[in-house]
Symmetry: D2
Subunit: 341 residues, 4 copies
């Protein structure tokens, strides 16, 4: 079975696992209050060009989204998100679980339109009945999106400007951030990316860690008593330094971005294979996820041989499937795919 | 620094880490729906003598407590717990965060009295105004307790009988379960323990895993759509198999209990050292945690050399400190402690 | 000022107020456990042809919606609603406050399409990833809708059939139920209406009561320990009998529906006045709310003389305003409106 | 049946009901944004000597407690309360429903001790692990308490000083405030009372209103967007002016305190009757509630003739019952009681 079903199907990048082994016989203080977390945080902030920022390490993506949204929003506020966003569609209502509404806007190729965001916020504020409505208190996007697409620098700048001018923070879910920033079509630097965001996370789970996400407040502003909020959410891990250790490895020798480049190359090669064989793309590929439209017969025939994710059914007889490559993808997998597809 | 500050200050037992290394190049399906989790679950159920039970793997203890309590209680129910219980005192209100009250009863040496539990439940039911009160819907205890003490078989049987006769499930927090069941003073077998409980968790984080807890429903009865509740709580990890892998290693060759025996021996030896040197114990030692009363001068003198936890101040001039041993404790640490104390 | 701004701008129908005066010197037991509530409940059930049903009296509409939705849904479920529905747009996120997502579908003239509901539920159930999504657990509609429109018997039957066949309860917000069922275009009887619904409320606040709504489970099935849930929501009133008393008055001599007929006649007359004077309707009038499109200049000119609600702006220069009549509307108001408009 | 079961068993004081009748034919704007609420608020602030304060009208007591506590606390904070306080014991977990813990302290005669509050707050702040605990963020007391007792001026001053010096607001539940401030043993003026509190409510439901409580921020500081929070809690009534109207009547000609004086006289007389007949008091009477210890046989004999509340059972054979007088108590009731008891 060629493992293209997702980008979180292998353990850890060898350099990450080696780091855990090296540190295994050393005692550390608990709950993330250790030197490894501090050092890893500094390395991340340096790489994103925001040395005055703040970093907090968490275990998983939904947890991170839920925490950021719940702690940055006032209780009467909701979060604007694309209707295809992870928090809108595939987190089982984790945001609503904490009492906040997701104010969904129609997405285009997974992306939110800055003008639509402005209209929603301005319309709310102009509405004489708005005390009876949910206040828009944050904008959520993902980069890359759930459809593997990327906002251009112009689009990010526009969203950021809309948010800043209206005093609404922009939060960017970077579960696959390294795959996005290392993509050929990406036109923002990590520094620019961090400057546009008010808060974002650089994902580890899909980028070579066993588990863990680095939540970054590039301009500071971590909510007061954040550790207590993390604990209250059930999200604090006793052995917090283990995530710090993994991220320190990921941000040494630019490993995080080298992983991104590796996946980009694999994705480009897989795209070329698929194109050469006449497969139809549902969306132009931009990052490490490829969305292909298959006849249902073809889906059945391929399923035992190659892993892929079922995305949606554009019509009765066809299915959109997702193929994903990652840090773990190697030559052999791609050769096998070429032979099989 | 002698690392006796807690039992979660080292990475993973070497056998556990080795297992992760061995599996690192193999692809697995996500979200805990993999063969490793299934196999580890079966091994755990076999060891606890409840092959018809159900197991779910989670990342941390507070998260597990929050999930079990929130999903097993009806929305109008609260959980009875000792006032010194972890959920009462040291989880930042994680239970209340999900809308449920902790109905605290005074603990004795960290333990809940079965008769007091019966009085609370029966008194509630007899109260003509009870529709205006929080319904007692579950009993929470920890084994060992936060004070390192153990319920005797008789005490567990009494609590279990009170719960069963009143239709209220008994949930046992086993963050240090292996240290409890392997203690010299323990008079219950794993099979008996599981039979008394309606739901419990066998902790991994403090027992040799990098992270992870095994939630066990020994007689079945996992709440409907439990995976969705886990996701909604932000508690689902993409790479769920990694916890399964660690627990499979822990429940091979009885490692979980061998770790417990090892800690018991270390604790007994540390206790002997402390007794020989005239230290006063706050509570008789029963498991891997030792509570000692120190003059504050002594605390200051020792602090740079030996890790310990600050527990409480019985008076102005003295402090109760906790020393903890674990799977990671070795001869050298004990010899150093003997020289230092 | 002609008071057409809303249908909740006057105190109580004289017969309702008289009833409160008559009972003022009599003592009653608290919390709705009184004879008046029981009698009023029976009268309501009789009028809706469902004598085996259950009734509970609450103070306000948002509170009732929040309670019904929170108590009937499982914690992992959300409620399907039209995007223009009161719970979607104008209750400040009261549903999300209790942890549940509103699964909004595009409305047409304020109404939900049965086929769209079926597609959402069936699509969810067919989705292999649905454990990561919010379960659709209830359908919410309002009758009349927030746009004053009515579902036809055929439309209600279709929605009810979709819900029943899929085991999802249909909840109907009847804040203005009497105005709907007494409308000329209404083609369902109260008995048919109640038969289609799984739970509904017959509004009092807008139908002649000082305050109060009658929540009806026409086929039984009130959630267990409902009174405790009401208390937990902060929604239990000590003097519960006062709502029972008002509803008993409203359901004597068919007052509730006579009020509806009165408003229908007033609305028809106001519609005729507006049509005669060439006003453009935003939607065809069906009940006691009239939506008219005005030039903004006209809005400014009329605002000091006649009360109306601002609804939306179809373009830069025009505004949709709402005029509402009620039990309190009288000849003089209509004559004044005719002279003014 | 002599109606001494509670102080909320009759409709409204005649002057209050008359006011509603007088205003019944006048249209008002909805949601509490009307002249009546503004005027009533001013009258209340004037009477309590805090003209710069803010007032908001709500329907019921539990709702008010839930709203105040939820909106004034940060999400990681809990509220300190006596263990016999209404929010601790008899509101079905309404505070926990909003995510906050009630930090209960042992009460003496229903009252909280200032020194114990100081110890809790200071102990929390000194605890090196307090990030893992619930932050004490507010102090809740009731005046009079659930046992009819009153804090002396000295006790209130001490509590207020502890709160102010630690930056923790003091919230006083005044469901029966008028009965407390008009009691013979009361040694605080309304102005002093308001000065000690950071927020309190003057109850209407038990003091002559059909329903309604006046929430007072004597020194300002109403939470931002409070109306939206009220709506989000399901607590906003469309016809808000009706509560304003009732409170305007209650604060004209000092009716609120005249009602209090009337009840004090009735209570004193009932106390004298009970003493003369040799009844044993559970607690010395201070306000309009009398707690008497009865043999269970006596309870059975009296129950058909006189209303009382069952409070607790001090032992197997006796019961503590509560008798309550109110604005509605009259000479005949007291004469009947004298004859019967």
């Amino acid at each position: 079975m060629i493992p293209f079903g997702c980008d979180y199907n292998f353990g850890a990048h060898p350099a990450v696992l080696r780091r855990l082994e090296e540190l295994n016989a050393t005692a550390f203080p608990g709950y993330g209050e250790d030197e490894l977390c501090r050092r890893a945080g500094k390395k991340i902030l340096a790489r994103f060009g925001c040395p005055g920022g703040e970093v907090y390490f968490l275990a998983g993506g939904t947890q991170t989204n839920q925490l950021v949204i719940d702690t940055l929003l006032a209780p009467y506020e909701g979060v604007i998100a694309p209707d295809t966003g992870h928090i809108s569609a595939h987190e089982a209502g984790a945001v609503e679980f904490t009492g906040h509404k997701v104010l969904a806007l129609p997405a285009k190729e997974g992306k939110l339109d800055a003008a639509a965001v402005a209209r929603l916020i301005d319309g709310f504020r102009a509405d004489p009945n708005h005390a009876h409505m949910v206040f828009p208190g944050m904008v959520y996007i993902s980069y890359p999106t759930e459809y593997g697409t990327l906002y251009s620098k112009e689009e990010l700048a526009a969203l950021s400007a809309v948010c800043r001018s209206r005093g609404v923070p922009l939060y960017i879910d970077g579960a696959r951030l390294g795959y996005g920033l290392a993509a050929d079509v990406c036109d923002v630097t990590p520094e620019e990316f961090a400057a546009f965001a008010d808060v974002f996370y650089a994902g580890g789970t899909k980028m070579g860690a066993l588990y863990g996400e680095a939540l970054v407040f590039p301009h500071g502003g971590m909510p007061a008593h954040f550790a207590t909020r993390v604990k209250q959410h059930g999200a604090m891990l006793a052995k917090g330094w283990l995530i710090g250790a993994q991220f320190e490895a990921l941000f040494e020798d630019d490993l995080y971005f080298r992983i991104g480049r590796h996946a980009e190359k694999c994705a480009a090669r897989l795209e070329a294979i698929l194109r050469a064989k006449g497969y139809a793309f549902y969306l132009p590929r931009q990052t490490n996820q490829l969305f292909v439209v298959l006849d249902d017969d073809r889906v059945k025939a391929l399923a035992p041989e190659i892993g892929f994710g079922f995305w949606e059914k554009p019509d009765e007889d066809r299915t959109v499937v997702r193929l994903a490559v990652s840090w773990a993808t190697d030559d052999e997998m791609l050769r096998n795919a070429e032979a099989l597809l």
